[in-house]
Assembly symmetry: C4
Homo-oligomer: 123 residues x 4
């Protein structure tokens, strides 16, 4: 299949809720960047995190093999530095091949979880 | 009415929650691909499912008649193989005529359901 | 301000939940088409509803004055015919001037409501 | 990093729920416009609010420094006038440099909150 998508995407919303209800890891409050690589090459991806009050942090390096999807929790990004909870952020996702990027949050701070998802902005 | 949309769409997020609360089928945890065919021809649609750790599976064949909408639950796709629950996936939707594609999840793993919906990415 | 948006939009998802919890009209289960008309002319809008198993119904006529927004509940569309609850549908929104269209659902079938919203697809 | 996005965005949905459950400010019912400025210049932003039954109000002025994100609650906009709760509105966001804009609501009128988020429409 032909490569679908774009090589640069942006997500303006970002927030890791502090606190969760329900069994981990499924019901842990989290945000995910869902990446689809329909191409026949590995996608080498660089994620940069933007904050309200300090310089951007990154790149966080992620690989998505050819013809695979990978759903990466922002909570799990550790190198060069974890993203603090209860803090506004945003992200830019850059790839060597075309990819599709979608952004999802599960918020289980209260007893019953809330969800959202939206396509990222194709730059 | 003129045909609206594109002939290829992608959805990077995909996840069928395992478990539900409330009456079936309405409140059963599910994901739906909503397809609108405004054209005067049948839309013959091929859905391909991408995974994190194995080759894509498909095509799943769906027909949407002229001037009709069809909301297909990913949970109901059986041929060539059902999509496992609690597993990350993504999808590509291809059609012979222009269609519009939207992606929705209802998650009722906890007592009170959560919802999201987003337009798919037009390739 | 210059007119922003497009003159034709499509929404592939549509479903009016049957049943509600909480005070009406705010917490009544509903779907809304939110229309923004930034132009200096009235927007004369035609909404067509598509179903899974019968011909499209419409047009439903809506006017959004110059420099105004109007959030129309699909539940309130009555002429030529109301939209049944618990039934899959989709919609096309056409205007004489450029508009912006967003689609929102509030589902209060269970005690705690769920929400989604997404931009419609600009045709 | 190159500037990403557009200089004008629109959001057709807007509604500040009246009433909240849970600790402030996190769980207070609110809507947010999330702005990402990846450029090397300050983004000087003008927000205009559109209503159903009166002339637009604005501009509300917001600055997002170079390489920063800012998540502005519509509830916090005060000058020239606060946005009333339980009232339909829409918004246009204009900037001197390219930005990315996303729109989020947290609704905690009932005991368990609901969430949505969507990219704004790039004009």
């Amino acid at each position: 299949m032909e490569a679908i998508g774009r090589r640069r995407w942006a997500i303006a919303e970002g927030y890791l809720p502090a606190g969760s209800h329900g069994p981990a890891p499924q019901m842990t409050s989290h945000e995910t960047v869902c990446i689809l690589n329909t191409s026949d090459q590995h996608a080498h991806i660089r994620i940069t995190i933007f904050y309200a009050d300090r310089e951007p942090v990154g790149p966080y390096l992620v690989t998505v093999p050819a013809r695979r999807t990978r759903h990466v929790r922002f909570n799990d990004l550790k190198d060069p530095a974890p993203i603090p909870t209860d803090t506004d952020y945003a992200s830019v996702i850059e790839s060597n091949v075309r990819i599709v990027v979608q952004h999802t949050r599960l918020d289980s701070r209260q007893a019953e979880n809330a969800l959202f998802s939206t396509m990222a902005f194709p730059a």
